[in-house]
C-alpha cells in the first residue's frame, strides 16, 4: 500500500476548539460533510481522512492509543494529562487561561491570602496540585467534572482553578480571577508511531 493511500484519522474535540479546528483542517483541503449532528465519525473520502468527534479531555487518549493519528487539543489538557504523544505545533487559536478565582466579595487578593487547609475545586487536579506545591500553599483539591463555578457559591471550596476565555462565566457567577496559572492555545498532536509510519501523510501538517 502506498503511503499516500493510507487513511488518516484525526480526533477533533467538541466544544471550544471545534469550529476553529474544522477551519484549520479545511486549509489542507480537508472538509467533512456533517449531515447529522449525532454522528461521531465523519469522512472526507476524497482526501482519505476520518474525523472522530470526541470530548476535549478524550483527544489525548485516542491519540496516545493510536486510535487517532492526529488530534487537536488544548495545551491545558496536554499539561494536565501528560500523554505520550508528539506535540507537532502550536495552532494559535483557542486562547484561554487557567486561573485561580475566588468569590468577588472574598478578602483573598492572591493565593497567599488563602487560609490553610482551604479547598480548591477544579477539573485540573494535576495542574492544581502542582500549583499548590509551587506556591507552598496548604490546600485540598476537590475534583469536579463540570460547572466548577458552582463550588464556591455553595461552599464546596474557597477558590476554584478553571479555564476562562472571556471571563463572562466567572462574572455571571460573581467570581473574579486573582492569579493566572497557565495560558493555553490549541496544539496539533500525533501518535508517535503514526508520526513515523504515515510520514508523507503527516508532512503537510509539519510545514
Amino acid at each position: 500500500m502506498k503511503d499516500k493511500d493510507i487513511e488518516l484519522t484525526i480526533a477533533i474535540p467538541k466544544g471550544y476548539l471545534h469550529d476553529e479546528g474544522y477551519k484549520y483542517l479545511s486549509r489542507f483541503g480537508i472538509n467533512f460533510d456533517s449531515k447529522s449532528s449525532r454522528e461521531l465519525v465523519f469522512y472526507d473520502r476524497k482526501s482519505k481522512v476520518k474525523a472522530l468527534l470526541v470530548r476535549p479531555s478524550d483527544v489525548n487518549v485516542y491519540v496516545e492509543h493510536g486510535s487517532a493519528d492526529l488530534g487537536i487539543v488544548g495545551l491545558d489538557l496536554l499539561k494536565e494529562q501528560l500523554p505520550d504523544v508528539v506535540k507537532i505545533k502550536n495552532l494559535g487559536f483557542g486562547y484561554c487561561k487557567l486561573v485561580l478565582a475566588v468569590k468577588k466579595d472574598s478578602p483573598y487578593k492572591d493565593s497567599n491570602d488563602l487560609p490553610a487547609n482551604c479547598k480548591i475545586a477544579t477539573k485540573f487536579t494535576r495542574l492544581a496540585n502542582d500549583y499548590i506545591q509551587k506556591k507552598g500553599l496548604i490546600a485540598e483539591v476537590v475534583k469536579l467534572y463540570g460547572s466548577v463555578e458552582l463550588a464556591p457559591i455553595v461552599g464546596l471550596g474557597d477558590a476554584i482553578i478553571d479555564l476562562v476565555a472571556t471571563g463572562s462565566t466567572l462574572k455571571a457567577n460573581n467570581l473574579i480571577p486573582i492569579e493566572t496559572i497557565l495560558e493555553s492555545t490549541a496544539f496539533l498532536i500525533a501518535n508517535p508511531v503514526s508520526f513515523k509510519f504515515k510520514k508523507s501523510r503527516m508532512a503537510p501538517f509539519l510545514m
Binding site: E64, H65, V85, N191, V193, K198
Partner: protein
C-alpha cells in the same frame, strides 16, 4: 477487611489457547535466533539492587524493590540485558569471544508503560557480546529483521539512529543541543522550535537543525544528510554516514534512519533502534549497542542486542488478523470395564503418533 483473592493488578493468567499463541511467537523468534547460532541463557528473577542501579537509573526508577530477611535490598529484574551483562563478567571472562545469547523471560516494572497497567511482561531478544562496532551491528540488525519476517508481521519499520551523532552535536553546539535533545525526547516539537528560535545559532545552523529532525527514510535520505551537514564546517559526520551507507547495502525499505529518534535507555553507546508497526501505537521492540555496560561489572567487552515485548508482538499479530495454531483435542477412549489394561494399551498405541486420553 475484605480479602483480595484476585490477581494483583497488572498481572495476568495465560489460559491454554493463549499459551499456544504465546508459544507461536516464542518459537518463531527462537528458531530465527538459533539459525544464527544464538544459544539460550537464563538468569534469576531476583537481582541485587546494586546490580540494577549501576546499569541504568531509568530502570531503577521503575523496578520492584524487596527487602530480604537480613535487611538487604534486592529487586525483581526490570530488563534482561543487565543480568546477562553481570553473568558474562562474572563467569565468562576466560571464554572465547564472541558470545551469542538469546533469552525469553519475564521482567517486572511498576510502570512498564503509561497506557496500560501491566507490571510483568515477557521480553525476548538477543545479545551479541564481544564484537566492536562494525559487522556485528549488521548481524544484529539482520537477526532482528529475520525474526520479524519469521513472525509473519506484514507491516513494520526498524528506525535507527546513533549515539555518536548526538555526542558530536553536543560537542559542536553545547548546552543548547542538550536542551534540543531533551525536547525531542519529550516528543515536543513545539518546544524544539521555540528553543531553536531563541538560540544564538547562525542562520545556517538553525536551518541545519530544522532539517535535521526531518531526515527520516532509507537510502534516499543519506544525500540529504550529507548536504545539510556540509553547511556546518565543524561537524564531523563522515564516519557516521559511511556507517549508515553500510546498513543500506544490506537493507531496503524496512530500515530507516531517523535522526530525531532519541533513546529512553541511558546505556547505549552506538547505534540504537526501535521497531514500530502501525497495528499498535507504540514500539514493539528496541535495542542498540552498549559498549560500556559490561565493564561496570568488571569485564571490558563491547556488546549489542535487542529485545521485543512478547505481549506487544502478540497484540500486533492479532490486530493483523493472523491465525494461530491451536491445541489438538486428544482422541478419547471409553474404559473397557472388563479389561481396563487393554484400554490403556490402546491409548498408548495412539499416543505414539498423536494424543489420546480416557473418556470421563
Amino acid at each position: 477487611m475484605k480479602k483480595n483473592l484476585r490477581n494483583p493488578k497488572g498481572s495476568r493468567d495465560w489460559l491454554p489457547d493463549e499459551v499456544a499463541k504465546q508459544e507461536y511467537v516464542r518459537k518463531s523468534l527462537v528458531s530465527a535466533f538459533e539459525k544464527w547460532g544464538y544459544k539460550p541463557i537464563q538468569t534469576p528473577i531476583l537481582i541485587n539492587w546494586d546490580t540494577l542501579t549501576i546499569s541504568s537509573s531509568k530502570l531503577s526508577d521503575t523496578a520492584f524493590k524487596l527487602i530480604g530477611q537480613q535487611g538487604e535490598v534486592i529487586a525483581l529484574r526490570a530488563d534482561l540485558t543487565t543480568p546477562i551483562a553481570r553473568v558474562t563478567a562474572e563467569r565468562l571472562k576466560d571464554d572465547e569471544l564472541p558470545f551469542r545469547f538469546y533469552y525469553v523471560g519475564k521482567v517486572f516494572r511498576y510502570q512498564s508503560r503509561k497506557t496500560t497497567n501491566e507490571k510483568e511482561l515477557y521480553q525476548i531478544g538477543i545479545e551479541l557480546i564481544g564484537s566492536k562496532e562494525g559487522f556485528s551491528d549488521l548481524e544484529c540488525l539482520k537477526v532482528l529483521h529475520d525474526s520479524l519476517e519469521k513472525l509473519g508481521l506484514n507491516q513494520y519499520l526498524i528506525v535507527i539512529n546513533h549515539a555518536s551523532f548526538w555526542q558530536e552535536l553536543f560537542k559542536c553546539f553545547g548546552e543548547t543541543a542538550q536542551k534540543l535533545y531533551k525536547a525531542l525526547n519529550q516528543k515536543d516539537l513545539v518546544l524544539f522550535h521555540d528553543l531553536l528560535e531563541q538560540s544564538k545559532f547562525s542562520k545556517d545552523e538553525k536551518t541545519f537543525w530544522h532539517e535535521l529532525i526531518y531526515i527520516r527514510g532509507s537510502k534516499e535520505v543519506i544525500n540529504k544528510f550529507k548536504n545539510i551537514s556540509n553547511n556546518i564546517k565543524k561537524l564531523k559526520v563522515k564516519k557516521l554516514i559511511s556507517y549508515f551507507e553500510d546498513i543500506f547495502k544490506l537493507f531496503d525499505k524496512d530500515v530507516e534512519i531517523d535522526l530525531s529518534l532519541t533513546s529512553d535507555i541511558d546505556y547505549y553507546t552506538g547505534v540504537y533502534f526501535e521497531v514500530i508497526t502501525p497495528y499498535i501505537g507504540k514500539s514493539i521492540g528496541s535495542g542498540g549497542r552498549y559498549d560500556e555496560l559490561i565493564n561496570k561489572f568488571g569485564f571490558d567487552v563491547p556488546a549489542i542486542g535487542f529485545s521485543f515485548c512478547l505481549e506487544d508482538l502478540l497484540l500486533a499479530l492479532e490486530k493483523q488478523g493472523k491465525s494461530f495454531p491451536k491445541f489438538k483435542a486428544p482422541k478419547l477412549l471409553s474404559i473397557n470395564k472388563t479389561n481396563i489394561k487393554k484400554t490403556f494399551e490402546e491409548i498408548k498405541k495412539i499416543q505414539r503418533k498423536s494424543s489420546a486420553a480416557i473418556k470421563l
